[in-house]
């Protein structure tokens, strides 16, 4: 399945949990205020939620693991989680592992940028064309990981 295929249309149906598998995927970005890669991570996750896999992805504000009412800690127990981190501190992955559970897949943005040969200095507060393009590429990578989870049977999706 290609990462840029159209999102799966659910149609009108009664929402049911198929067997024990969840029907959604959790994608959690780091908060990434300090670093440009953090901004890219967050924007990529928003693109997946709004454009590429609407209705299939749930997310969470990372600090809610501490600031929330406790229900957030069920996150990784209820859905398979893809953590997307902007730097080696890996807050999204580590916080999920600490407060909630194992992550199914992890994306290190800096690693991806190295693979893609990106050496330009990036802006955290004034993202331009390059930052937007990188966010799109990261979003595609997230979608690829989601598709892998579906193929592995870790997510139940109608009309697959």
């Amino acid at each position: 399945m290609q990462a840029d295929e159209k999102p799966i249309e659910a149609g009108v149906n009664e929402v049911e949990t198929k067997e024990e598998r969840p029907s959604k995927v959790g994608v959690l970005s780091c908060s990434g205020e300090s670093e440009a890669e953090g901004t890219i991570a967050r924007n990529a996750v928003r693109l997946v939620i709004e454009k590429y896999r609407p209705g299939m992805v749930v997310t969470l504000c990372l600090p809610l693991y501490l600031a929330g009412d406790g229900g957030e800690r069920e996150f990784a127990r209820k859905v398979p989680v893809i953590a997307v981190d902007g730097c080696e501190k890996a807050c999204a992955r580590k916080a999920t592992e600490k407060y909630s559970g194992e992550v199914e897949s992890w994306i290190d943005i800096r690693d991806l940028l190295k693979q893609w040969g990106v050496t330009d200095k990036l802006s955290r507060s004034h993202p331009g064309k390059l930052e937007d393009e990188l966010a799109e590429k990261v979003a595609q990578e997230i979608v690829h990981r989601i598709n892998t989870l579906i193929q592995e049977g870790k997510v139940a999706v109608d009309n697959l």
């Binding site: 999102p7 249309e9 659910a10 149609g11 009108v12 149906n13 009664e14 929402v15 049911e16 949990t17 609407p54 209705g55 299939m56």
Partner: protein, 296 residues
Amino acid sequence: MADSENDTEQTEIVVLPCSGLDKEAGSASRELALLLSDRGARIVCPVLYERSPKRYEKDLGAGRLVVIDGCKTGCASKLAAERGLKTARKLTVTEAAKQQGVEAGKDPRLGSALRDLLPELVEEILATGLVKAEGAEGALFQETVSYQEFGIDKFVFRVPTSGYFFNENDCWARVDGPRARVGVSDYVQQSASDMVFFEPPALGAEVSIFDEVGSLETTKTALDIISPVSGKVVAINSEVVEAPDLINENPYERGWAVELELTDFGSDRELLMDSAEYFEYLKRKAEGEHEALYGK
């Protein structure tokens, strides 16, 4: 994910009084049913039910049954038994009155002695937990809400399975005893997007069914909350005033907007959809809108 409705979660009551026209106790039975109706109960007319049982099929399935007999003849109880109805509470007026030292008379007109006992009997029925009442033991609106859902395209819409009543403006009233909380449905909060402002009505304002009882503004639009019930505004959810996005987060419970002291729920109820009716209505509406936008 559908949650199945079960008796223990039903807060509605359905009243089957006797139709005793020739005794004071029969009049008291009817009057007691009317007082319970003011507190949100549905009434089943025993004569109509005898002639046309289908008429009340839905009502009888919607809540827990309270049977009120005027006297030991037990006409209402016998009718319930014949129809195989599960009775949650039975009360015989003459017996209840005797316990208070009051004797029901032969004159069919309701006298003051028996009339004065009725509010106490209402409270006794309420206190048995059939309908939540405000009091020292617990507050209103505390029962756990269960939901049913349906999906269309990327959206999933939730509707509570019981205890809520809806108008066609997609506003709900959660009735608990003499009061109701009012808010907007999950469908509204998803369609209208992020709530940014809530303008509440004045405390003490008298509201009729279908009056505006507060307004909301989102990042996309502005809308009024159309009250499904008549009453007096007795509380405003200050949490929602402070953080209107609570409505997006939790539209049916923490996202309530206004609380009303009900004045005529018995009549209002006739104009509203219960949870099951609203669920079907919303499905049709959402399907229709989806079809209009995207075709079949």
